[in-house]
């Protein structure tokens, strides 16, 4: 055995293993959104599903982002054809209701779908506590860089995007962002 050569060969393995080890700590599917920290794109969208009191808005009303300044905004993009939207529906609806009276506004945005289908879906799912709006031509979805549904955007009280959640959300995540953004806004 030539131990000197053997040692050199063994040393070559170290960087390879280190790179792999580092790679294992990262999720390759997680591509960070460039949006957080940036001002959210303004929108003015028409309500098609009113939601339930006390969070309701009359159908046909226009919801403007500009009017929501000073409140935390939770923007949830969904569609009636989206299966994982079913998983998060009840959580979103109930969590939103629990925040009634607080400076936070939940809004559903129907993506690539028709109002009728959306209304039917909401009825099927047992109602939605907050209102949902139409997004004609998916322009808002494009402005927000939507990758798929469901996606949920958390906007701070100054109208900046604080966080984007891809896929179904859970209650802990919603509460974490809503509470911390409300606290930051109250300062």
């Amino acid at each position: 055995m030539n131990w000197k050569r053997a040692g050199i060969a063994a040393a070559c393995v170290v960087p390879v293993i280190l790179v792999f080890g580092y790679g294992l700590t990262k999720d390759p599917k997680e591509i960070p959104s460039p949006l957080p920290g940036h001002e959210a794109s303004p929108f003015a969208l028409e309500v098609f599903a009113p939601g339930q009191p006390p969070l309701n808005r009359a159908p046909g009303d226009t919801v403007r982002l500009a009017d929501l300044k000073g409140q935390v905004v939770v923007l949830n993009f969904w569609a009636s054809w989206c299966l994982s939207c079913r998983d998060e529906h009840q959580i979103l609806s109930e969590t939103a209701r629990s925040y009634a009276g607080k400076p936070v506004h939940f809004l559903g945005v129907l993506y690539d779908d028709e109002a009728d289908n959306g209304t039917k879906w909401i009825a099927q799912m047992g109602g939605q506590s907050y209102p949902s709006v139409m997004d004609p031509g998916a322009l808002t979805a494009i402005n927000y860089g939507l990758y798929g549904v469901p996606e949920t955007y958390f906007l701070d009280t100054n109208g900046r995007i604080a966080y984007k959640a891809t896929g179904p959300v859970n209650e802990r995540l919603i509460r974490h962002f809503v509470d911390s953004l409300m606290a930051a806004g109250a300062k």
């Binding site: 030539n2 050569r5 792999f20 580092y22």
Partner: protein, 653 residues
């Protein structure tokens, strides 16, 4: 539970076997050696019990077993239930361990009477690899967990995996090929441990093993391409996905090895190089598994996983350090005894072939791992896609095609200038013909033209070798052409098996070159009765239909292929909806002809059946790729087939 106990017991048996070998060698105890061999057989038995118990659990829908609860479903057809043994992480590891234990048992069964310490050390190496997989099976990839309360039904296998018959073929072929590479590796390690590394015995003993593993891996890659083409609905067959690359990279080094080992056997050169190639091939198969199974890269193949990546990382580290230390430590003893006589010789071409295959391997490996390195060094997310791989690999592929024509024509040692002329000039005719054909067909890209020309050259050169041999037999023995061909191949199966494999690769090259140069497609939304046309073919949408099957619902479009005004056949692209899947799984319809496929995919449809969006792709020469894969395997079979049949007949003649 019995199954898990079997794995636990097998670990003890394997560990005993690993220890028994060095003891037997040191003390010269044959009886301990026999015990080590018995451990190999027992391991095979125990893992078989576990694997068959799992199959039984799947078939009887025993949802108290975690793996069955994960991939089983009462609605899934029996066939797909059985093959879901390798449909998810835990099962595939179990299957892997099973194949490995079977190989180890076969290796021992065939070679146990050989004197010397090569076979014992090779067995110990195989047992060591088995031990690692057993650890996975009791640890992070335990398929035998118990579920309580026992569910009534399960979600069924991943829809993509139960949608096509090739799922029964591609994964096992890949495992058989991948795991097969452990055998030459084990013998290489055995040769180094036993001090037999200066002899060429380890390459001779493993020749058939390496060839079979290579053939299985080739077939697996082609089957994977075919599956992707037939199921995913995008009309392509290769996307340089990290895991496709992971199967391709060891194939490249294994191919290089098959060539360079001939130089070792003939000319006693390249010993160290060959050892490196085979160790590298095995490491690359483990790396490939690591990439697939750890979720470290984003890919269609990756399973979501927990801690298994770290186990693999540890294993890779151990195997890399151990094998590199062995190779480097032994490197001084691996001097070549032969030397090159001339530039114009077959061994030079083999050397160039190795150079380019290795360069190809490094290119693909770099592209695959670059995102990982970049993120580790700069923290940036990058992806390396098709443009990189295509641009980098085209010059290499074109050169390899050319070499494939030159190599068979040149003799060993040294060719005279008249030999060079008479051997290398005529195939240029093949190159010219293919060049003209490609130009007439409309190809203008330089690499496409070179690919056609060199593939033509190589095809001519390889076919000419058959022709020369057959003509010689025909004139010398007065044999008929058919008999001459059979006896020619039988007389030198290594050589003609190789040429046959070359012809297969050339077919694949033609298919790839043509389909990437002349592909055309058209997409339109049409109503029933309306037509869509492409490449001189017209399809008329007859009707849309829907059907409920136990495990899925199917929506399809019936399209009539029009020959003028008469109907020449129908095509039925479909979408399959599985309850557990968010998006439908497309099933394109493919109509194959000699010159190419008409590939029709149903993109979207109105629920009332009033229209459908149909995508039609004309895919020139794609069937040649699958045929070529078959020819490659045929070539390998010719070379593997035991001496006797053909040889005996030759002696009679």
């Amino acid at each position: 539970m019995l199954a898990r106990d079997a794995i636990l017991v097998s670990m003890a048996v394997v560990l005993f076997g690993i220890v028994a070998v060095p003891v037997a060698v040191r003390k010269g105890r044959r009886d301990w050696m026999q015990l080590a061999y018995a451990a190999v057989y027992t391991n095979f038995l125990l893992v078989s019990v576990a694997a068959l118990a799992m199959v039984y659990g799947l078939v009887t829908h025993d949802f108290s077993i975690s793996y069955v609860a994960q991939v089983g479903s009462r609605e899934t057809p029996l066939f797909y239930t059985v093959i879901s043994l390798w449909g998810a992480l835990e099962g595939s590891i179990l299957f892997w361990a099973w194949v490995l234990s079977m190989y180890a048992a076969a290796v021992v069964w065939i070679n146990s009477r050989r004197a010397g310490n090569l076979v014992p050390y090779a067995s110990a190496t195989l047992l060591f690899i088995s031990f690692f997989f057993a650890i996975l099976l009791v640890g992070p990839a335990n398929p035998f967990g118990s579920v309580f309360p026992v569910p009534q039904d399960g979600p069924g296998p991943n829809p993509l995996l139960q949608n096509h018959i090739l799922m029964a073929v591609h994964p096992p072929l890949l495992y058989l090929g991948y795991v097969g590479m452990s055998v030459p590796f084990a013998f290489a390690v055995g040769a180094m441990l036993s001090g037999e590394v200066e002899g060429d015995d380890w390459t001779k003993i493993t020749r058939r093993w390496t060839l079979s593993a290579w053939a299985l891996l080739s077939a697996a890659i082609i089957a994977g391409m075919w599956w992707s083409y037939d199921v995913l609905g995008w009309g392509g067959y290769w996307a340089w996905d990290p895991v496709e690359n992971a199967s391709f990279i060891p194939w490249l080094t294994a191919t290089a090895f098959l060539h360079s080992v001939m130089v070792q056997e003939r000319r006693a050169m390249l010993r160290l190089w060959n050892l490196n190639l085979i160790v590298g091939t095995f490491l690359l198969t483990i790396l490939g598994t690591f990439l697939t199974r750890s979720g470290i890269v984003s890919s269609v193949h990756s399973f979501t996983t927990g801690t298994i990546g770290y186990y693999f990382l540890g294993f890779i580290a151990i195997v890399m350090v151990a094998s590199l230390v062995l190779v480097a430590g032994n490197s001084e003893r691996l001097r070549s005894t032969g030397r090159f006589d001339s530039i114009a010789s077959r061994e030079t071409v083999f050397l160039l072939n190795n150079l380019f295959l290795t360069a190809f391997m490094f290119t693909v490996l770099t592209g695959t791992l670059f995102p990982l390195v970049e993120e580790a060094v700069n923290g940036a997310k990058v992806s390396v896609g098709e443009p990189f791989f295509n641009r980098m690999s085209l010059p290499i592929v074109v050169t390899l095609l050319f070499l494939m024509g030159v190599g068979p024509a040149l003799p060993w040692k040294a060719a005279s200038s008249s030999e060079i002329k008479s051997k290398l000039l005529p195939p240029a005719g093949g190159a010219v013909v293919m060049l003209v054909v490609a130009l007439v067909a409309g190809a203008r890209n330089a690499y496409a033209l070179l690919a056609f020309a060199f593939a033509g050259y190589a095809a001519f050169a390889n076919l000419r070798e058959y022709w020369i041999g057959m003509r010689a037999r025909h004139t010398a023995h007065g044999e008929g052409w058919g008999t001459a061909l059979v006896r020619l191949i039988g007389g030198n199966r290594h050589r003609y098996g190789g040429y046959t494999a070359h012809l297969g690769i050339i077919l694949v090259a033609f298919g790839v070159a043509a389909s990437s140069t002349f592909r055309s497609e058209h997409e339109a939304t049409i109503k029933p009765g309306e037509t869509i046309s492409l490449a001189g073919q017209t399809l008329r949408l007859k009707e849309m239909w829907g059907r409920e099957e136990p495990q899925r619902s199917v929506v399809g479009a019936t399209l009539e292929v029009m020959n003028g005004t008469t109907v020449g056949g129908t095509m039925e692209p479909r979408m399959n909806f599985y309850p557990m899947s968010q998006s439908p799984v497309p099933t394109p319809a493919v109509r194959s002809g000699f010159f190419g496929d008409l590939y029709v995919n149903l993109q979207a449809f109105r629920q009332d059946g009033s229209n459908a969006t149909i995508r039609v792709i004309y895919e020139p020469l794609v069937p040649w790729i699958w045929t070529g894969g078959g020819v490659v395997v045929l070539g390998a079979l010719i070379a593997i087939f035991p001496v006797g049949v053909g040889g005996a007949r030759r002696r009679e003649a």
